[in-house]
């Protein structure tokens, strides 16, 4: 046997950490936007996708080094996010939340189909720039660095205090002299920069295609909710938890005696979402969330 059970568990844990890192990077964006706007930015997965394409074009068409592509995505994605915020969400700030939610879905579909039109739905691959093992370490390292950095920003800087104030009570923050529009923009920028980075790295490891944002976006959203939406730490913990869940569900086989075994991989999506539902039943505010007391 190549490596015993212990080694397998260690390797699977690493796989979980790796997957979780990608989702954590994207989940941070969901958390920040939800924090300041109480809006689930469904278009966030597409910002991730655009980041991947920007990186792809920089490397394959402009022949830039991959880190330059990363830098470009970190500029392009916030710009895109700001555009979406200005054009689609700001006008609806006073409208019922459902309107903004549906608009978010609309923007998501718009971006997906625009990308299909421009690039065709076929997946595209990067040339080999970095070995896959190195890339995995880069992704994990980047996720840790980004989440820690963002956490510090939110909790140790003045801007961060303003962000937390706006998430707590938007009107009160405005009355305190905080420029709410500016803070919302900053929240979008921070979250989208992380998503852009995730997009480029994800694209380098797997491939790049217009619909690539759908599933990671969904999983990242689940991770954000699982960890406690609105908090950066929650996004990280949620990402890790979801990573563990999915890797376990895709590889565990429950022995049924003799040769037969129940392969959980057949039901991995079902299992993952069942566990998620159960977790939320017991901790509706997420693993790290605290129920907010409504003072009337």
């Amino acid at each position: 046997m190549h490596g015993g059970l212990a080694q397998q568990v260690v390797e699977q844990a690493f796989n979980a950490l790796f997957n979780g890192s990608v989702w954590a990077l994207i989940a941070v964006g969901y958390s920040m936007v939800y924090g300041v706007l109480k809006l689930i930015n469904f278009a966030h997965g597409e910002v991730f996708m655009v980041g991947a394409f920007v990186g792809y074009l920089a490397v394959v068409e402009l022949h830039w080094p991959w880190m330059a592509g990363l830098g470009l995505a970190m500029v392009a994605c916030p710009l895109l996010a700001l555009l979406i915020e200005r054009a689609a969400y700001r006008p609806l700030r006073a409208a019922p939340r459902l309107a903004a939610l549906i608009t978010a879905i609309g923007v998501s579909l718009l971006l997906q189909n625009l990308a299909i039109r421009i690039f065709s739905a076929e997946p595209k691959g990067y040339p080999r720039l970095l070995s896959d093992s190195a890339l995995r370490l880069v992704i994990i390292g980047t996720a840790i660095a980004c989440t820690v950095a963002l956490h510090e920003v939110v909790h140790r800087t003045q801007v961060g205090t303003a962000i937390r104030a706006v998430s707590h009570d938007r009107e009160a923050a405005a009355l305190m002299g905080i420029n709410v529009n500016r803070i919302v923009a900053i929240a979008f920028v921070l979250g989208s920069a992380a998503a852009g980075v995730a997009g480029v790295l994800y694209g380098m490891y797997y491939n790049v295609e217009p619909l690539m944002g759908f599933r990671p976006g969904l999983y990242a959203f689940v991770a954000a909710v699982l960890g406690g939406i609105g908090s950066v730490r929650g996004a990280a913990v949620g990402g890790l938890a979801l990573g563990i869940l999915l890797v376990a569900a895709s590889s565990i086989a429950i022995p049924l005696g003799g040769e037969a075994a129940l392969e959980l991989s057949k039901y991995k999506t079902t299992i993952t979402f069942l566990v998620l539902t159960a977790a939320l039943l017991f901790r509706p505010a997420g693993l790290l969330g605290r129920g907010q007391v409504q003072k009337l």
Partner: protein
């Protein structure tokens, strides 16, 4: 209800009705418009008067001069293919080859001096779209026969519609046995997975000398499930051992780290992945990262010009079964290769070759039927014998499948190379 509101409701209702009419929900009980002309078709030439050794026609010979019912303006052939989406190279190759064939036939005088009109629809690699494309081809475009699809799941979705409408359908490349079992109007010009699975199992056991194999199937994909099952059957029959249980993924999954780590722990000699090139490329790339030393093998779903781009170096050393080899020196293959290359500026793959053969088989069926009467064409198709095509010489058997040879290809230095040829069993 106030006045203005009533008008608004009426306007919306009118708009919706107009949308529905334009969107073209076909009426479910469409009367079958007889396509055959007033002149009764000539006596059926479809009974196989030729014995098993005699060909019922190949290439361009006999097409332009066939006797054809005079009132028919042209012959409408519909095709539903994946021109976009994850399996786009399958559909694009097949489409280009079908067009090449149709253009060649038309330029040489058509079938009985009737031109072929080709109507191609994109099903975006999705089976729901496959069904609706075929619905449109049958009801709106009123085609006489249909070519498609490559992916077995899509063929299975559309075949019942063709069967119900009595429209003959030829799938150029779907290998799942269930496709032709849908009904007597459904044909194929390729081998089936019962054969393909056996080919690979034997190759893996005998040529690659593998003792242990693991299988990774795409559960959402009929082709993958069927081929994987057959491989498992034959491999164990031949004395091989299947390890790491029954791992699977769902189409669209990009991360295979869980299953691959598990498979790597069982240390198989071969990993059989009967999937499509987009998924296989990712599996191949990730396999090395997870310490898998096994050779990765699969079926004709690997045949795509994009496989090497998507998998990079990991593509080298893959083995897969396929329908034909583009380096084949026979004149039929070389002529096809050159014609395709000249017209489309790219090398044809096996799927293109099958699309080309499918169009010619259909053309000869039309020629023998002498009309566009669907029942006559269906019978003519069933009577196809010793058709000499690019993918070999074959006949359509009683199950409406074709018994053909297979090749095992490999990727060497980023290009396809021939590993072995297996004659039709």
């Amino acid at each position: 209800m106030s006045g203005p509101t009533r008008y608004r409701i009426a306007l919306v209702a009118l708009l919706l009705t107009a949308l529905v009419a334009v969107g073209g929900c076909p009426p479910s009980a469409a009367p079958k418009e007889p396509v055959s002309p007033a002149v009764p078709p000539p006596p059926s030439k479809t009974k196989a008067t030729s014995g098993p050794e005699e060909s019922t026609g190949s290439g361009l010979s006999g097409l332009a001069t066939a006797q054809f019912a005079p009132n028919v303006p042209d012959i409408k052939v519909g095709a539903y293919l994946a021109l976009s989406g994850p399996q786009a190279t399958f559909g694009q190759s097949t489409r280009k080859a079908i067009e090449l064939a149709a253009d060649e036939i038309n330029a040489a005088g058509g079938i009985g001096s009737k031109q072929i009109t080709l109507i191609v629809k994109d099903d975006r690699s999705r089976k729901e779209d496959a069904a609706s494309c075929v619905r449109m081809l049958i009801d709106q475009d009123k085609v006489d026969a249909i070519l498609g699809e490559v992916a077995s799941s899509n063929s299975l979705a559309a075949a019942p519609l063709c069967q119900e409408a009595g429209v003959p359908m030829i799938t150029p490349s779907s290998t799942n046995p269930r496709v032709t079992q849908v009904g007597d109007c459904i044909f194929r010009v390729c081998f089936i997975d019962d054969f393909q699975g056996e080919v690979m199992a034997r190759f893996v056991r005998n040529t690659l000398q593998a003792q242990k194999a693991a299988i990774l199937t795409d559960l959402a994909n009929d082709y993958s499930v069927g081929l994987g099952k057959r491989f498992r059957e034959v491999f164990t029959e031949l004395g091989g051992q299947i390890v790491a249980g029954d791992t699977s993924y769902a189409e669209g999954d990009k991360d295979f780290s869980g299953p691959l780590t598990k498979i790597a722990a069982a240390d198989p000699d071969v990993l059989f992945v009967p999937g499509y090139y987009t998924d296989v490329a990712l599996v191949a790339k990730q396999a090395r990262t997870h310490g898998l030393r096994a050779t990765i093998c699969g079926g004709d779903g690997y045949d795509s010009s994009k496989l090497v781009e998507l998998a990079g170096e990991a593509a080298n050393g893959l083995y897969f079964s396929d329908h034909c080899w583009k380096g084949d020196p026979s004149p039929t293959v070389r002529n096809f290769y050159q014609a395709y290359q000249a017209k489309h500026g790219a090398e044809p793959d096996a799927l293109a070759a099958l699309g080309y053969d499918a169009m010619y088989v259909l053309a000869h069926a039309f020629a023998r039927a002498g009309s566009t009467d669907k029942a006559a064409v269906r019978d003519a198709l069933a009577g196809t014998r010793e058709f000499a095509g690019v993918t070999g010489t074959f006949s359509i058997d009683a199950q409406r499948n074709a018994k053909k040879a297979a090749v095992v290809l490999t990727i060497k230095d980023g290009a396809q190379a021939l590993a072995e040829t297996i004659p039709a069993d």
